[in-house]
Amino acid sequence: MSQATAQNTLDLLILKTLARGPNHGFGITVHIQSASEGLLRIEEGSLYPALHRLEREKAISGKWKVSENGRRARYYTLNEAGRRRLEDHQSQWLSLSAGVARVLEVT
């Protein structure tokens, strides 16, 4: 996978996770791992740069809140721009993966 595709994929997973409601970085990794039934494991080192990039692009916004276990954590919320981007990316991804799946089925 090229870097751009990897970045797009990571963005998509983050945005999709946040569409369920505000969450912190650790929560996002946990969700992706459990939702993919352990198939996807986020590179944690690249998660935070991606989060901050999305924040700067105003797709998401981060705020310090107290977490369920009483710790201070930075929670990210999906913005309007992020929601639009999620829809775009999601449809692109679905058509791309459907296309790829068909090509694979043919052989």
Binding site: H24, G25, F26, V30, E43, E44, G45, S46, L47, Y48, P49, L51, H52, R53, E55, R56, W64, S67, R71, R72, A73, R74
Partner: protein, 862 residues
């Protein structure tokens, strides 16, 4: 403000990022713990899973902050980091800063001096078009014009824009409430406009003030205006008393003004040449003339234009005189700087050498540092520091080191210049105004920026240790080569000074005090007035404590006294002079009877003047040995009579005195014609007293000055030890030798430091190899020998190269040497031996450390 905000934001961001990732790690660790890991294991596993927090931090950070701001922040952080890492390497930091301070300080100071000598124009508008103009003859050591000729020559307009005249600077007295001895210079009203010099206050002389009998007017030097009159802007029109006359101040000279003969002049007075009388040769005065060429005219064209005037001059003089005169037209720049030019280039060479040694030293230290932390560099690279980041870090360290060296160097330069100002012989070049200026700041900053760039690009990355070592060996050899040049130059000049000091001056200087004054006041108008003063002073001096001899003369060696007369004009025993041309100049000196005893000049024949012969009707004289041999070859001159043409008296020779230096150290002595003071005509305005005393010179100087004050309270006088006057004879070579010795010292110190540094590093780098060799049976002597062989190879290469270079350079400054050949084998041998000894000495400590290494320890290490 904006920057502060963004920096603040950056700080908040950094904290947020850290907290955020910390939270993540803790959550992950607690998740691991729930899976059954211990607290320690889970924390480690969490870190492992996350990867590099610092890379993630840096990447996330970059998302927020623009690249430029990020770079700035990075540079700031690198600078802080550099401070910390330099503090951990105090030896490197101190040595590098010291090397730069010494090198740069010395270089800046010398550059300031050399710059003034070599590159700065004269302080006149378009000075390239100014030239000294006149007739050269054996009677004077510079070109002159007779007043009448000047009034004709200045009309030349085909190649010359104008020709102006000055009179030699002379002592004059400001006789106000605090009388002081000053130097006055006479100039024509056309002088300042022709040289393009504008008074900073007031005005130039008016043409009517430059006429004979015109009321006086003076222009003050800037320094005198500031010191004595507090820089009063309304000074013009104020009256001063000069030599007892009241004259108005009309203007003030600008700060950088130099009199074209380099005399330091305090006051300008109008020349007031009586041109009508001079043209008829009813009065003859000598002036020093300067002209300005018309734009586009060459010096040869200008000389040719004066040809007819010179030919006319030749028709007005006696035929025997014609053979010994020639026309001189010399560019002013050449005239004023020609003595200093070679010295300037030598100093500049020394500057380059010192700077080069300092530079190679730092380069070497830097290479050593880069090599010794290849480990650290590897770790930082592994942790994600990019190539640019590492370069930035190195540049930050270098900037800090060079910046400190720069600041230190400028302080040192300021200090050295203050020393130069005190010690430089005044007439070499005017150093009174030198200081660290904008050009020096620029020069040194340029050197430093170039250094930082060059050092950063040094091949630190070279993996091959032996190649790196070879580069450093080359640097050490280069340092030694430059040291050879410095030491050899200094050695040759020191030998010159020693040779010069060894020249017999012909007078005794120890325990001799002199005092001089000028009888310029109206009350000394007649010879009888001046004679009375001399008599009163002489008897007063004899009453001082501890005086064994005291005398008065118009001038003392090493200077000649009056204008003198031509040898060819002397008639012996009434016979007219043999007409073999003017035969050069003879100096007449008025003295009192104890003159020879006070100065320790031996009388070879005859006797000193008797008291009765002073001011007697019948003339007596004493000849210098040189004059006696020439006038009376093979005969006893005693009892014969001599008479210079035009003199009223005939003089009987009563003695012959040994020669004493009176025309500088190297020039041939001028024959001396000693005559007693005479109240009719022979009592010059210049008075110098000389006292031989057993009392401390400083005390005698004060007593002698008091004695003059007792005779005339309004007369300013300067007193001091006679040795000062003699020391002035070789002040210039001494100054040059002192400067070069200073640089040679700095250079050798730096070179020794360099060798030591490289070897110490070599030993610590190769301690394992040394350990292995020892374990395999190498003896301690063998190891030490290996280190020394290393040094000797570099040393031999450096010394050979340096010797060749120094030989070539010394040939170029031959003119500064006396009594020693440029390729003086003794000097060169001494220099080479000294440097070889220095390099062995510098190698001694590292070699000993290598020899005493314990193989068991070095091999177990790491």
């Amino acid at each position: 403000m904006k920057e502060w905000l963004s920096r603040r934001r950056a700080r908040d961001l950094d904290r947020d990022l850290r907290d955020e990732m910390q939270f993540h790690l803790e959550m992950r660790a607690s998740a691991f713990e729930q899976e059954g890991m211990t607290a320690r294991e889970s924390a480690a596993a969490a870190h492992k899973r996350f990867g590099s927090t610092s890379i993630a931090h840096e990447d996330a950070r970059r998302m927020h902050i623009g690249a430029a701001v990020s770079l700035l922040g990075t540079a700031g952080r690198e600078l802080c980091f550099a401070v910390r890492s330099l503090r951990r390497a105090p030896a490197f930091t101190a040595t590098a800063v010291l090397a730069l301070t010494l090198g740069l300080g010395g270089a800046c100071a010398v550059f300031t001096v050399a710059d003034r000598i070599l590159f700065r124009g004269l302080p006149y508008a378009q000075s390239g078009r100014l030239a000294a103009v006149g007739v050269r003859a054996p009677i004077a050591d510079h070109a002159f014009l007779l007043g009448g000729d000047y009034s004709e020559w200045k009309e030349e307009r085909s190649a010359w824009e104008g020709i102006t005249a000055t009179r030699d600077a002379y002592d004059c007295d400001l006789t106000e409430n605090h009388p002081v001895r000053l130097t006055c210079g006479g100039v024509a009203a056309s002088f300042l406009p022709l040289f393009g010099v504008e008074p900073v206050a007031g005005r130039n002389f008016r043409p009517e003030e430059d006429r004979p009998g015109a009321p006086g007017a003076v222009i003050l030097s800037y320094a005198l205006w500031r010191e004595r009159y507090g820089g009063d802007p309304g000074i013009a029109g104020r009256q001063v008393r000069l030599n007892g006359e009241t004259v108005p101040i009309v203007g003030v000279l600008p700060a950088g003004f130099e009199f074209p003969t380099l005399a330091s002049v305090d006051i300008l007075v109008p020349l007031r040449l009586d041109e009508a009388v001079e043209r008829k040769r009813q009065a003859v005065s000598m002036v020093t003339a300067f002209g300005r060429l018309k734009p586009g005219r060459s010096i040869d064209q200008a000389r040719a234009a004066l040809g007819p005037y010179f030919d006319h001059f030749l028709t007005t003089i006696s035929p025997q005189f014609k053979k010994e005169v020639w026309l001189e037209v010399t560019p002013l720049d050449e005239l004023m700087r020609r003595n200093a030019r070679v010295a300037g280039w030598v100093l500049l060479g020394a500057l380059a050498a010192v700077l080069g040694i300092a530079w190679t030293n730092v380069a070497n230290l830097w290479l050593a540092r880069a090599a010794s932390r290849s480990h650290e560099t590897a770790i930082r690279t592994a942790l994600g520091a990019g190539k640019g980041r590492l370069l930035l870090h190195h540049a930050a360290e270098l900037t800090l080191v060079c910046g400190c060296g720069w600041a230190g160097g400028l302080c040192l330069a300021g200090f050295l210049l203050a020393v130069f100002r005190q010690t430089a012989p005044a007439w070499t070049i005017d150093l009174r105004q030198v200081s660290v200026d904008a050009r020096i700041l620029f020069f040194s900053a340029a050197v430093l920026i170039a250094s930082v760039v060059a050092f950063s690009l040094l091949p630190r990355g070279s993996r091959i240790a032996s190649r790196r070592m070879r580069l450093r060996g080359v640097l050490v050899a280069a340092q030694l080569a430059m040291s050879v040049f410095l030491l050899a130059s200094a050695g040759l000049l020191l030998r010159t000074v020693r040779e010069l000091s060894g020249i017999p001056v012909g007078v005794r200087t120890s325990g001799v005090t002199t005092v001089s004054a000028v009888l310029g006041l109206p009350r000394y108008r007649t010879a009888a007035d001046r004679f009375g003063f001399v008599e009163r002073l002489e008897s007063g001096l004899h009453r001082l404590p501890g005086v064994s001899a005291a005398a008065v003369a118009d001038e003392l060696p090493p200077l000649t006294a009056g204008p003198g007369f031509m040898y060819g004009s002397i008639s012996v025993d009434g016979r007219p002079p043999a007409s073999q041309g003017p035969g050069g100049r003879v100096n007449e000196r008025h003295i009192t009877s104890e003159y020879f005893r006070a100065l320790g000049i031996p009388l070879l024949r005859g006797r000193p003047f008797a008291a009765a012969e002073i001011d007697a009707a019948e003339g007596v004289c004493i000849l210098s040995d040189r004059l006696a041999r020439r006038l009376f070859p093979g005969n006893d001159p005693l009892g014969h009579t001599v008479k210079p043409t035009g003199w009223p008296k005939t003089y009987k020779v009563v003695g012959v005195a040994a020669d004493a230096k009176n025309a500088g150290l190297l020039a041939e002595d001028v024959p001396e014609f000693y005559i007693p003071y005479d109240s009719k005509q022979g009592a010059p305005r210049f008075v110098s007293a000389v006292v031989q005393s057993t009392v401390k010179p400083s005390v005698v100087a004060r007593l002698v000055a008091d004695e003059i004050r007792a005779v005339d309270p309004a007369l300013p006088a300067t007193a001091g030890p006679f040795s000062d006057r003699i020391a002035r004879l070789n002040a210039r070579p001494r100054f040059h030798a002192a400067l070069l010795s200073l640089f040679a010292g700095i250079g050798v110190l730096l070179a020794a430091l360099g060798i030591y540094g490289v070897l110490a590093f070599l030993v610590s780098q190769r301690s394992r190899e040394i350990g292995v060799r020892m374990a395999l049976g190498a003896t301690r002597a063998r190891i030490a020998g290996w280190i020394l062989a290393c040094v000797m190879r570099w040393t031999a290469a450096g010394l050979a190269l340096g010797a060749v270079g120094a030989l070539l350079a010394a040939r170029e400054f031959r003119s500064m040497l006396y009594g020693v050949k440029p390729a003086d084998p003794r000097t060169f041998l001494e220099v080479l031996l000294l440097l070889a000894a220095v390099s062995v000495l510098a190698a001694y400590l590292p070699a000993r450390r290598a020899a005493t290494l314990d193989p068991a320890v070095t091999l177990r290490h790491d």
